[in-house]
Every structure is written in C-alpha cells, then in structure tokens.
C-alpha cells in the first residue's frame, strides 16, 4: 500500500544529512560544552558552528540566537520573558486570536498575573489587519506577538507592516515563526521583529531543538535559571546532538529553500485544484498568501476525524481541527475566528507537503480523497444540506 505522509506541519522526517551530522555527538563527542578539556571544547565548538548556521538562515547575528528545546518553549520564553522584563513600563500585551496554544495559554497565564491582554480579531482569511494593531497599542503596551504563518490555515500575516508599526510606537514585536522558518524566506532585517521563535523539526531537523531570536540589546528575563549556558539566558546542559542537527538543517534549508518551495507549491496547487472540484469543499485560509506546502479545507456534511481514519486506512496521513479529532473535544479556535460555523468546522482537514512528496503521491491522493468524502457523505444525515442545524449551540456535557 502507498504510504503518503501529508502532515509536515506536525513534524518533518529528519534529513539523512542531518542525521549523519548529529550521529557523532551521541557517542564520540559526548562532552559537556562547559568543560574546558578537549571533548568539552569540541562540543562547544559544534554548538557555536550550529548557532552561526541557524543565525544565517534568518540573517541574524549568532549571538542573537538562543537555543531552546521546542517552539513552545521559545514562545513561552518570548512572551513571559519580555512581559517580566518590561512590567515597570506597562502591563499590556497584544496577541492575535489565531496564535498557537503556546502563545495563547501563556497570555492567559499572564492575565492571571495582572497583565492585560488584547486578542486581535482576524478576517475571513485569518489575516490580522495591521491597522488593528496600531489601534490596540496604548501607553502601557509592552509587547505585540502575532504569528508569522498559521499551521492550521496556512495564512501568512503582514508581519513586516505589524513590526514597522510596533517599532514606530516603541513596542517590542515577537512573531511565532515555527511554521514558516525554513519553509519560506524569513529575514530578521525586513521582518522588523525583535523576537522570532522557530523549530528545527519544521525544516527536516530533529525534535528537541528550537531557537528564539532575540535582537541585540533586547532585555529578556530567563525562563530557566541555573548555569551560564546560552549567555545565562537559558540554563541547562545543551542538547548537543539536536543543536548540531538544527545547524545542519538550517544550512540545508538556506541552500535548498527556493527548490523546496517550487516543489511543494506545484504539488500543493495540484492537490487544491482537484479537492475544490468536489461540491461543498472550501479552502480555509488565504488563497495566495499562504505557506507553499499547505492545503487546508472544510468539507461540509462530514466530520474530520472520520476522514483522517479512512485516509489513514488508505495510507494517507493528515491532520484535522475538528472537535472530535482534538483531545480537548473542541473545534479549532482558529476556524471559529475566521468565521466558520462550528458545525462546518467539524469537517476540517489539513494537508501539508514536503520534499519527499512526489507527483505520483498527489495523483493517488487526488483519486482517494473524493472517494472518502462521498463514502462518508453516504452515511451522513446531512448529505442534502444542513437543514435544521443553523444557529444551534452545543450544550452537551464534554
């Protein structure tokens, strides 16, 4: 049976060259980078080389890169670290409604600590209007954090413009670029961001290695206290193999970015064009200003988890934002924020492509997907429409 992994936004497979680069750091070069003897120095050097590659990927300086263990940690670090470092100036933070949980839940935590948070709305494509950012900034605002590209709907924000506004108003700007760095060009100089979160496993690097770019001169309070690792801003013995892997993955991403974008975009367009031929299948997110390998839909009258199970039985692995497929049993807040009714959001399905996907894979997918839709619609009581469901609210005990 064909096996087609279409969930690159969840994680990427490790690039073989990355694996090769990491391997010696598990056994031969096991030293602690803080040790002053040879194995330690070797590990130290490997980390600093990786830092240079990672910095180069986003056109930053090596000393502006702080390694973390995940994108979520980088996001927590950015929001909490900036909030605590600047609370004497003010206690107001602005985020969008379609941030990742690692931003939204951190913002909610800070609300309990006495910070005020403004949650910016998005339009039907999931785009934050930069003018809304400008209007939301008050004297007490210390941080604006807007996601660069949505992993759920693929939409890319006007971060340059938002960053320019924040800069003008003297407010620090962070962007969660976990889904974008390594997948589209990200340049700190043009992005006007003071902080950027990104993760290696989104560009064929290992899990367990991520980074927060912190612009030179930006004060930030650490999340983890301890030793002097990462300039005292993130304590803990470094995950040397993972960091080495992130460096190699960054080097490859910088080298191959154009080629990768062309490859996934052509196949993604083919997938989208075919999917939209089926009645009542809608593309979510922006039609053009979106991640090149990202296709997301809502399929009316059927439910996402059921689609994922049937796809998986056909060897196709994908994701959904439906309530039933989430552990929390809640429809994706991102889909609700872009104005999709909750019952339609149940039909969410997300396909994300990567380097390994071939034209044949997409042909197979394009054949399979409409079959699965019609099979589930045969079972659905709504095959002829949503009669009697408009305006109903969920009252079930979850």
């Amino acid at each position: 049976m064909n096996k087609i992994y279409l969930d690159y936004v969840a994680t990427n497979p490790l690039h073989p060259e990355v694996f090769e680069a990491m391997a010696p750091y598990f056994k031969e070069h096991f030293g602690n980078p803080l040790s002053i003897y040879e194995p330690g120095m070797h590990a130290r050097e490997a980390i600093e080389n990786a830092r240079e590659c990672v910095a180069a990927l986003i056109n930053a300086k090596p000393k502006e890169i702080i390694f973390t263990a995940s994108g979520a940690e980088a996001n927590n670090f950015a929001v909490k670290g900036i909030a605590y470092a600047n609370q004497s100036k003010g206690k107001h933070i602005i985020v969008s409604k379609i941030e990742h949980h690692s931003i939204l839940n951190t913002a909610r935590f800070l609300e309990k600590q006495g910070f005020a948070v403004t949650y910016l709305p998005v339009d039907k494509y999931g785009t934050v209007n930069p003018a809304d950012v400008e209007k939301a900034i008050i004297k007490e605002t210390i941080l604006v954090s807007v996601i660069h590209a949505s992993p759920e709907i693929g939409t890319i924000q006007h971060v340059e413009e938002i960053g320019r506004i924040a800069k003008q108003k003297g407010v620090i700007f962070h962007t969660d670029a976990v889904a974008s760095v390594g997948n589209i060009p990200v340049d700190v100089q043009s992005l006007n961001a003071d902080l950027i979160s990104f993760a290696a496993h989104q560009f064929y690097g290992p899990k367990g290695a991520a980074a927060l770019y912190v612009k030179e001169g930006t004060r930030i309070v650490p999340l983890i206290y301890g030793g002097i690792q990462e300039g005292g801003r993130r304590a803990g013995t470094e995950n040397v193999p993972a960091i080495v892997g992130m460096g190699k993955a960054a080097e490859l991403a910088k080298r191959d970015l154009r080629k990768r974008i062309e490859h996934v975009k052509a196949l993604r367009d083919k997938l989208v064009n075919n999917a939209l031929k089926t009645d009542k299948v809608l593309l979510t997110g922006h039609p053009d200003k979106r991640l090149p390998g990202h296709a997301s839909f809502v399929v009316e009258y059927i439910e996402g988890e059921a689609m994922l199970l049937l796809l998986s039985a056909k060897g196709v692995y994908a994701a959904s934002g439906s309530a039933c497929s989430s552990k929390a049993l809640k429809a994706s807040p991102v889909l609700i924020s872009i104005g999709i009714p909750a019952h339609v959001a149940q039909g969410s399905v997300v396909f994300t492509l990567g380097e390994e996907i071939t034209d044949n894979d997409i042909n197979y997918f394009n054949e399979t997907f409409p079959q699965i839709i019609s099979r589930l619609r045969e079972i659905s009581p709504y095959a002829k429409g949503w009669e009697g469901t408009e305006g109903s609210a969920c009252t079930a005990q979850k």
Binding site: A306, S392, C394
Partner: protein
C-alpha cells in the same frame, strides 16, 4: 486508539441509509458538538424487524450507530430499551474515555426512535 471492533464497524458500517417507510425515527446529538445520529426502525408485533442509521460524526460515532442497529434488530421494544451506553461500548470492546459521552449516542437515538413509534401508535 480504537479497538479492532470499532474499526471494523467504522470501516464497514452495517445498516447505513435512510428508511423511507420507518415506523419510528430518533435523532440525537448536535453537529455543533460533533456528532449526530439518526436511527430508523421498522416494528412488527412489538419487535424491531429492521433498523438503519445515518450519522454525522467521528469514527466512534459511526461504529456505535452500526453496532446499535445490529443489536436492536430482532429485539422486542422493551429489550431494545435496555441497551445502554455501557452495553454498546462493551459490545465494541470499549471506547476511548473521551468518546464515551459525546459519540456514544446510539442508545439514546434508538430509545427516541422507539418513543416516536409508540407515540404514533397512540
């Protein structure tokens, strides 16, 4: 995540479809929450002679619908009223805990169909 039995009833659901001449119809659930089940029954001499379903929902919801219609066929109405969430889950070799309440609506939908039939007899 799902038992082999759930996967079997989800992948090859029994008794799918509308029943135009149903004697009783019961609908339970809400598409906003995720799952809706519509159960149709045919009744003769106080016995369920046929049952069909239409379901909007996840794998568990579809498997539960398939199972409840299989179980109900041949039962008397009073026997069918004794089918519960627990007995359905057991017949499916278990359901994940988070699916027990929102997706396990088969018994409720069936009971509503029986109620509908009885109301029509009055």
């Amino acid at each position: 995540m799902y038992s082999a039995k759930v996967m079997d009833h989800f992948s090859n659901p029994r008794n799918v479809g509308e029943m135009p001449d149903a004697d009783g119809i019961g609908t339970e659930g809400n598409p906003v929450c995720g799952d809706v089940m519509k159960i149709y029954i045919k009744v003769k001499d106080n016995k369920i002679t046929d049952a069909k379903f239409q379901t909007f929902g996840c794998g568990a919801a579809i498997a539960v619908s398939s199972m409840v219609t299989e179980m109900a066929k041949g039962m008397t109405l009073d026997e069918a009223l004794k089918i519960t969430k627990a007995s359905l889950a057991e017949a499916l070799d278990g359901l994940p805990p988070q699916k027990m309440h929102c997706s396990n609506l088969g018994a409720d939908a069936l009971h509503k169909a029986i109620e509908d039939y009885r109301n029509k007899q009055k």
